[in-house]
Every structure is written in structure tokens, then in C-alpha cells.
């Protein structure tokens, strides 16, 4: 029997919960950006929910004028064998989101990857470097305005 997480979050974090969506038996909670750390800590520690395992964290580019970037958290509860997805939004003008490394230390690398690919800055991540691309690279390749073919001369090649 799945735990009614949405109800729990609504009763406890009324102002933080923006929306709840269900699709193919998967629940997505839309959370206010400022409150994500508190919600995650609650979900991890609550005896009934126990979403103690961060499966994945990733960014996405919705390419809309407002709330352009999304950060998606796929959580898993080892106790209840249940999944939950959280989602927060951020704008291009203010592309800062709180880091959840204090809740799950394993979020460090996925956050680096999201920073590398989308330029989303995770405040509180102590080692926010590029994950895959070279350090000198100036662009964020998974943004929708980055061309598939790449940008000429953006990656320095070794001199002969």
C-alpha cells in the first residue's frame, strides 16, 4: 500500500507545495525552490515515508520565458519500496538553487553534472566544478539553445 506522501507534505508544508501530478502511477511533487532542503530532510527522516535513497538528481531545460530550468529529484524508499519525484524551478536570471548535499552526500556529483550541463548553481555544494566538460568550456551543452553540432573553437585542442 503506497504511502500518501502528497497528503503528508500538504499537511506539513502547506505553503511549499505548489502542485501534485500523477502520471503512469508516478507522483511528482512541485516544491518551492527555497524549501527543497527542508522537504527533503523531512522525507528522509520521517518514519513513515523514509525516502532515504536519492536515486537520481538531474536538471532540465523547459525553454520557457519563466521558470526555465527544472531540477528533478528521484527519490526511493528502501523501506516502503516506493518512488517519489520532486521538482523545483529556477529562472535564468536567478539560477541559484539550494544544494541537498547536506541531506544526501551522494547528491554532490549529480549536482555537479547539472551545473555542467545547464549552469544551475547549487548553493552549498562545496565542490561545484564541471563534471564532464573541460574546465575552460564556457557554454552549457544541454541547454536547448546550445546547437547539437556544438560551437566551433569552444573546446581547446592540443597544439601541434
Amino acid at each position: 500500500m503506497p504511502i500518501p506522501v502528497a497528503e503528508k507534505i500538504r499537511s506539513r508544508f502547506l505553503s511549499s507545495l505548489i502542485d501534485v501530478k500523477e502520471f503512469r502511477d508516478e507522483t511528482t511533487l512541485y516544491i518551492k525552490r527555497e524549501d527543497i532542503v527542508a522537504v527533503c530532510a523531512f522525507l528522509r527522516d520521517d518514519e513513515e515515508c523514509k525516502f532515504d535513497y536519492l536515486s537520481d538528481l538531474c536538471g532540465a531545460d523547459a525553454y520557457t520565458p519563466e521558470n526555465r530550468f527544472e531540477v528533478i529529484y528521484n527519490l526511493y524508499s528502501l523501506k516502503n519500496r516506493q518512488r517519489l519525484r520532486l521538482k523545483i524551478f529556477t529562472d535564468e536570471s536567478d539560477i541559484h538553487v539550494p544544494s541537498v548535499t547536506s541531506v544526501w552526500p551522494g547528491a554532490a556529483w549529480p549536482e555537479r553534472e547539472a551545473y555542467d550541463m545547464f549552469g544551475i548553481v547549487f548553493d552549498g555544494n562545496s565542490d561545484l566544478r564541471r563534471m564532464y566538460m573541460p574546465e575552460e568550456f564556457e557554454y552549457f551543452p544541454l541547454r536547448k539553445d546550445f546547437p547539437l553540432m556544438g560551437i566551433p573553437d569552444s573546446i581547446p585542442l592540443p597544439r601541434k
Partner: protein
């Protein structure tokens, strides 16, 4: 030209992370204790193109910074620009040790998004190929771990077994490495009786051969001493850091997606989940060995229970028609044209589906906007998350333990770098 041993010119953020302060890392005194060793990306024991910067104090590892990205091909960007079918061959190249498993993982996520279910025969075949791929992957992991710490023979013997598996894959899919076997709503071609026989033959012979390989390692004093108690990770750390697969079960967490969230027909099959609480390299090795035996049981049961019937679902607008029919029938020709050119157009929404891959939780997160290609596709690659623990595992160990620990967590860089 300066005569001092300057490692990197001027700024380098990797070195900053290692030193935790502004540094130019110079060694003017040859008796200086601390040195920085650059291991990889071209190093046989890093299983691909993993680069490690290791700060050594004598022979003890003081700090490690892994550097990824040498095999980054941008598959997530590519996925946004190809149709759901076109991405199947790309999944072969993620974890190239067990491509059949990636095919299955990806197609299950797409099918969940589409709301299509494959016929039972196809599901059984997917179970069989996943488990054979798991055996192939674990054989490599065990063999390479042996090779890294000096037991060369076992590597040859496990590769002898893998060769037989590759022959089976070739029979089944037409390719040894890049299989691209699954399709939306089924698989590309049915398993013939000959293939079935050769799988049965493999299942019959494998236990004895595996026992041979084991006999080279289990009581091998060098092997045991170099792995027992090395690279210990506790249960709590493993969960908090997102460890998964055999590595997580080697730390005493009984978590296997085949059991906890059954997909395909795993809930009808009887198998054990090997769990060892020690959390060291030896525990991870034993979990892999025991998992191979369980996989073999699963393959045997699936071979016994496999029903006859179609291997592709009857969903003409979503499932690619068979080639013979495309050439002779009008309807199928139209559907083939539409699916190839415009894609399968799943409804707008997002799904995450994970399977128990050979390295751990292999998940695909797909955002769809109702178009023929994904809006966003994220690969949750187990190797990437497992590698994250390297600094923790290596700190305070000896330099010779580095290769043993890397070998025991079994990373594949094609998957970690995407």
C-alpha cells in the same frame, strides 16, 4: 624552463580540489613526503578512461580526486534529437560490457511512457538476455579484479566463458557487441530453437567452469589478503552516497529492484539475493560470484517456463512492423514510414524506470512533450554514482589498494561518462 617539478601550469581547479588551498604544487625537495600522482586516463587498471589525481603521503593515499569526462559523448543531448527507436543503438554504447541489459532498461522506460506491454514470450526472452548479460558483466568484473591484483589466469578463464556468451548473443541478435536487440513492444527477432539449445548448453556447463575460476581465487592467499578488509564502506554511508547493485549488497543492504519492484516476469521466478554485510572488496567479489549462480537459476527457470507466441505487441502505431510485411503489405508500409519519420509520439508526461543492472540501478528518466523524440532523457548510470565513493574508499589506504578497490566497484566508463 624551471628545474622544479611543476605539475600543472598555473591554475587548475582539479588540483585546487585536491589541495583545498591555492597551490602551485612544487617539489623542490626530493625528500618531500607528499607527492601528487596522476593515474590515468590511459591506465590499464582504471577500466577505461578514469583519471585519478592521488595525493600520496609516502605510500599512503591522503586524498583522491576522480576526474571524469574523457569518454563523454553527449548521449543525453543526442537523445533529444533522435526518435525513440533511433536511440536504442546508442544504449549499447553506455555500459558496453552488458549492452543487452541497457537495451532492456531503456525500452522498459519507453514502454512505460507509451503504455505498451510486450507479449509474454518477449518478456521471458528479455529476462534471459538480461541475466546472460549480467553473467557476462560479472565475469569481466571478477576476471579484471583478479588481473589487477596479480591473478592473471582467472582473467583468461573468465574470458573463455564470456566468449561462449558472445557466441550466443551473436546467434540471438546478429551482433556480438552492439546488439540493439529490443524494440518498442517486443524484441527484434525471436529466439530460435538452436539458440535456445546453445543457451541450455551454456547453463549446463557453466557451474563447473565457474567453480574452476573460483578455485583460483577463493583460497588464493594473495587475492584474499589484498581484498579482505580493504575498501570498507558501511551500510549507512553506502545508502547516503547512492551506492547500488552488487556493491550495495556487499555492504549488507538487501536491495534488489528485481525483488523490491519487480519488472518483466521476475515476480514469477524463484531466486535468492546474495547479501554480505562486510562491505569490503572481498564481500563485493563474493556477491558477484553468488549473483552469477542465481542468474543461472533464473535463466534455467525462464527457459523452462517460456511460452510460445508472438514476440511483438500488436500496436501498429507504436511497434515497428516486421520487414517482410513492410515489403508486401500496404498498411505496414504506411506504419513503418510514419514510425521511422515521425516517431511514436507518446503522451506528454514524465516517467522514471529503473532496472537492476549489472552494475546497479540503471534508470532512464524521460520527459515527453508528445513529440516523436524525448524532450529530456536522463540516464541514471550506476557506475557514475558508484565512482563517487572512490575518495571515501581510498582515503588512508595504501597505493597498492587503489587498483583493488577500483576493480571491486567495477566501473564502466562508457556508462559513467555517457
Amino acid at each position: 624552463m624551471t628545474t622544479s617539478y611543476e605539475i600543472e601550469p598555473k591554475k587548475s581547479k582539479i588540483l585546487h580540489a585536491l589541495e583545498d588551498k591555492d597551490t602551485s604544487a612544487q617539489f623542490t625537495d626530493p625528500l618531500e613526503n607528499e607527492m601528487i600522482l596522476n593515474m590515468g586516463p590511459q591506465h590499464p587498471a582504471t577500466h577505461g578512461v578514469l583519471r585519478l589525481l592521488i595525493k600520496l603521503d609516502g605510500e599512503t593515499v591522503a586524498a583522491v580526486v576522480p576526474e571524469l569526462g574523457y569518454l563523454h559523448r553527449g548521449y543525453e543531448k543526442l537523445a533529444e534529437n533522435c526518435s525513440y527507436h533511433e536511440f536504442i543503438p546508442h544504449t549499447d554504447r553506455l555500459d558496453y560490457i552488458s549492452p543487452l541489459m541497457n537495451n532492456t532498461a531503456y525500452i522498459l522506460a519507453v514502454e512505460k511512457l507509451l503504455g505498451v506491454e510486450a507479449p509474454r514470450r518477449a518478456q521471458f526472452i528479455r529476462v534471459i538476455i538480461s541475466e546472460l548479460a549480467r553473467i557476462s558483466s560479472h565475469l569481466l568484473a571478477v576476471g579484471a579484479l583478479g588481473l589487477d591484483i596479480g591473478a592473471v589466469t582467472v582473467f583468461m578463464w573468465t574470458f573463455r566463458e564470456r566468449e561462449k556468451l558472445y557466441d550466443i548473443f551473436e546467434d540471438l541478435t546478429g551482433a556480438r557487441f552492439t546488439t540493439s536487440y529490443t524494440r518498442i513492444g517486443g524484441i527484434s527477432q525471436d529466439m530460435t530453437d538452436d539458440t535456445r539449445k546453445s543457451i541450455q548448453d551454456f547453463v549446463n556447463r557453466f557451474p563447473a567452469n565457474l567453480a574452476e575460476c573460483e578455485s583460483l581465487l577463493n583460497r588464493n592467499r594473495i587475492f584474499v589478503e589484498r581484498t579482505d578488509g580493504v575498501g570498507v564502506i558501511t551500510r549507512e554511508q553506502a545508502i547516503a552516497m547512492g551506492f547500488s547493485g552488487p556493491n550495495l549488497r556487499g555492504s549488507g543492504v538487501e536491495h534488489d529492484l528485481r525483488r523490491s519492484n519487480p519488472y518483466l516476469v521476475y515476480d514469477e521466478l524463484d531466486f535468492e539475493i546474495p547479501v554480505i554485510p562486510d562491505g569490503d572488496c572481498l564481500a563485493r567479489y563474493y556477491v558477484r560470484i553468488n549473483e552469477m549462480k542465481e542468474s543461472l537459476r533464473i535463466v534455467q527457470q525462464a527457459l523452462d517456463k517460456i511460452p510460445s507466441g508472438p514476440v511483438q505487441a500488436f500496436e501498429p502505431k507504436k511497434v515497428l512492423p516486421q520487414k517482410e510485411r513492410v515489403y508486401t503489405k500496404m498498411e505496414e508500409l504506411i506504419h513503418d514510414f510514419m514510425i521511422i519519420n515521425f516517431g511514436v509520439n507518446p503522451p506528454a508526461g514524465e516517467v522514471y524506470h529503473a532496472i537492476e543492472g549489472s552494475k546497479g540501478e540503471l534508470g532512464f528518466y524521460i520527459q515527453s512533450r508528445g513529440e516523436g523524440h524525448p524532450w529530456r532523457l536522463k540516464i541514471r548510470s550506476p557506475s557514475f554514482m558508484n565512482l563517487q565513493l572512490l575518495p571515501l574508499l581510498l582515503k588512508g589506504r595504501m597505493i597498492s589498494d587503489v587498483v583493488a578497490i577500483i576493480g571491486s566497484i567495477d566501473p564502466v566508463m562508457g556508462e559513467a561518462d555517457k
